[in-house]
Amino acid sequence: MADLTTNFIGITSPNPFWLASAPPTDKEYNVRRAFEAGWGGVVWKTLGEPGPPVVNVNGPRYGAIWGADRRLLGLNNIELITDRDLQTNLEEITRVKADYPDRAIIVSIMVPCEEESWKTILPLVEATGADGIELNFGCPHGMSERGMGAAVGQVPEYIQMVTEWCKKYYSKPVIVKLTPNITDIRYPARAAHAGGADAVSLINTVSSIISVDLDTLSPEPSIDGKGSHGGYCGPAVKPIALNMVSQIARDADCGGTPISGIGGVTTWRDAAEFMVLGAGNVQVCTAAMTYGFKVVQEMISGLSQWMDEKGYASTADFVGSAVPNVTEWQFLNLNYVTKAQIDQEACIKCGRCYAACEDTSHQAISMSADRVFEVIDEECVACNLCVNVCPVEDCITMVELDQGATDPRTGRKVGEYANWTTHPNNPGALKAAE
């Protein structure tokens, strides 16, 4: 069986599945049970300054959206960093690390943006024996109004400055956790790199209002009739996170900074996708909160089965392997022509492809009186909508036209690779071609 042991910035763990800093990692009891269930590592719930801990609301702090059959797709929260005493957390971290030397324990930290605050807490964290720290520059609610979390994460200069302090006062790896609530994720990532960060992790939660109660007119989760924006996570944010991970992986100015991928990882497949797009490991929060710690067993068995099938001996063999295939739109091959094809054997005659194409796309599917649906090649632009709305997997597929074949829609022969930079309709084409 494939070896899932992962070395991420010098920290080894038996598998690449870490629990993200959040309620699942808020105390010794949880973390021990998580390790027993098989998690490779944890990022301990974010610690704050010494002194009185922060307080949470005492009403509901989560909201959700659901898919069919009430599958949880997105979770939103207005929770703050740990509301437990710093000393208690530190003692627990020390104990758990001593008992689980083979697992990764990273301590997430968020203290004010002053050198003194970091200088004070870092030696305390160092003394626990934990493997590294993660700087929480991502929390979009509650803490950001106090000048921490996303308020730091949205200002690259601050990121660099705090990272430098951490490298100065802490000897082990420093991971900078990034907020997605920013226009271009590469700027904070470059700042972390410039500050000497060993890695970045992303994404933290996305600013969100998840729903409104139409009787009370209160945003949810409702605290005494009022709501406040929160942080959005779970399967719904995965596409946003995947894009941001790949952007950093491809950015020369990020200098190949290792990435810990976070955001909607729910199955082994999600993890594999993050990893081929450049993440050295993944962190999980919502899936564990939805299904319990046991989900990691499916992640482990699934990833190792896939690795065996593909012949990968270790996770390092495939991390980043899809990065070269991420490109800009302008470089996509405009002479790659496909047509939708409907497998009549597999078709259950629901007509969804017809409705989608006829009403909203290119009127490229015909429907007969006895409900036979067929693609009209003369009209099909290959947009893929029919594939996406069809309830039967692989019933509608895209078939590529060979080079030299004539596209019945345009009447033109399919040529060799050519992209927008050289296309005659592109006003800048000649310049781009030079």
């Binding site: 199955t267 082994w268 497949r269 319990g292 046991k294 499916e298 699934g302 190792s304 065996d308």
Partner: protein
């Protein structure tokens, strides 16, 4: 085809071969990938899942279903086989309606459980089709264990012992291994010679020798086996049958042997069945005999049970299966005599009532025409070696499968405790193997005798 369902007496070929073939196809056909996906999506991944508790082998059902849902049916199969190496046959024969599926929280929610049995079949079929055995043995321990009986209990025990590095010899009196998987289970539950295919696949672990045509009590003795082996596991099932004990009962046929003939028939077209069939009994065997008689083309099949429908051992699903196949179910009747000079002609049945838990005949009787009467009123322990304590007609064992004699374990139908089901037999065989292993690698003071390499999944 000259015969038909109305041909009088016993006759073969009552139905056209194509109809026969159709009748004996899979009762629960395999799910294809898409169907499995849809079915798997319904699982809630319950915590401490009730289905798992309801499964006698405690398969991690939510985990294997999630593994199917994420496109790794092979990993799902390993989750199943870790707990139940006969997960393939169990997926086909388990009365899931009284086990895992009955416990599914979807029953509470909408009265339709996740299709656990069929999902299990989907996963196990996928891995078994690969033909590489998914487990490997630990290093040889030098210990030898004899298993008597190659049914589910014996096979499960042998596999686990072999995995732990012991050498196992299985003895079985029948010409083929498999026990009731091969000779008893209804034909439409185990199609395409699955029982033999499964045995061959299971033996892929290595370290197991099967000797068929060898019976304890004739060419094998307990003393001989004890001398030759380090431990003994008895899994001889229930080889005897209860007699009807009414006048004319020599005209009755034992339902188990009818089913066995049916399972072994190379051509169902040649298997005779009566025009009028009566089955006496109320359990799984009675239902199987009745349904298969109908499927062979019997015109009238009546199942006669002495108590009320609630007391029948056959589940509601099985009763519905019988009814939907045109079997007439009579309850609160019992046979008092079988009539006929040159062969069976009529069965005389008496109405019954129960007062204070005691069953009594009302004295009112009636007769049904019958060409073939199957008796399915229970199997009994036969050939249990002398010296073993018997408890309620079964070999007395403790929770780990130990009999009252040292060095002898027993499990499956022949041993006390648990329902008489394939899956229970597997669980008992597996657990006895674990206990035999513990006993073999420790001395009487509990000190470890051998340090072992661990056997297990061949992929690690």
């Amino acid at each position: 085809m000259s015969n038909s369902p109305t041909t009088p007496g016993l006759a073969a070929g009552r139905l056209a071969p194509a109809v026969l073939a159709e009748n004996f196809t899979d009762l629960h056909p395999a799910l294809d990938r898409h169907e499995a996906q849809v079915a798997a999506d319904r699982c809630y991944f319950c915590h401490d899942a009730p289905c798992m508790t309801a499964c006698p082998t405690s398969i991690d059902i939510p985990l294997f279903i999630r593994q199917i849902a994420t496109g790794t049916a092979e990993a799902a199969a390993r989750t199943i086989f870790d707990q139940n190496i006969l997960g393939g046959i169990c997926a086909r024969v388990c009365p899931t309606e009284t086990l895992c599926e009955e416990a599914c929280v979807r029953m509470e929610a909408e009265g339709a459980p996740v299709e656990i049995g069929r999902l299990q079949r989907h996963a196990t079929d996928r891995l078994m089709a690969r033909n590489d055995h998914p487990y490997q043995r630990a290093a040889e321990t030098g210990k030898r264990v004899a298993v008597v009986g190659a049914g589910p209990a014996g096979l499960a025990c042998a596999h686990r012992l072999a995995m732990k590095g012991h050498q196992v010899v299985i003895y079985d009196s029948h010409p083929k291994p498999g026990g009731l998987n091969e000779y008893g289970i209804a034909a439409y539950k185990s199609t395409e010679d699955f029982a033999q295919a499964e045995v061959n696949w299971l033996l892929g672990i290595g370290g197991i020798t099967v000797e068929t045509g060898r019976a304890l009590g004739s060419d094998l003795t307990l003393a001989g086996l004890q001398q030759e082996y380090d431990a003994l596991f008895l899994a001889i099932g229930l080889a005897g049958v209860n007699a009807l004990s009414v006048p004319g009962d020599d005209l009755a046929t034992d339902a188990v042997s009818f089913i066995s003939d049916l399972r072994q028939a190379s051509d169902l077209d040649n298997l005779p069945v009566g025009r009028h069939v009566v089955v006496i009994g109320g359990g799984m065997t009675a239902v199987d005999a009745a349904v298969q008689s109908r499927l062979l083309g019997a015109e009238n099949v009546t199942l006669a049970y002495r108590r009320g429908p609630e007391q029948m051992a056959a589940s509601q699903f099985e009763r519905d299966l019988a009814a939907s196949n045109g079997v007439r179910i009579l309850t609160n009747v019992r046979p008092v005599a079988l009539h006929g000079d040159a062969g069976l002609r009529e069965v005389e049945l008496e109405h019954t009532s129960t007062a204070d838990g005691t069953l009594r005949g009302t004295g009112e009787t009636f007769r049904l025409p019958v060409d073939q009467l199957f008796s399915a009123i229970g199997q009994t322990l036969q050939g249990a070696p002398e010296g073993l304590e018997i408890d309620g007609g079964k070999i007395r064992v403790d929770a780990t499968g130990r009999s009252t004699l040292p060095g002898i374990w027993a499990g499956g139908d022949c041993a006390s405790g648990g329902e008489d089901l394939t899956v229970t037999a597997v669980a008992e065989g597996r657990d006895a193997a674990e206990d035999i292993h513990r006993a073999l690698i420790h001395d009487s003071e509990g000190n470890l005798l051998l340090l072992q390499t661990t056997g297990g999944r061949s992929d690690g």
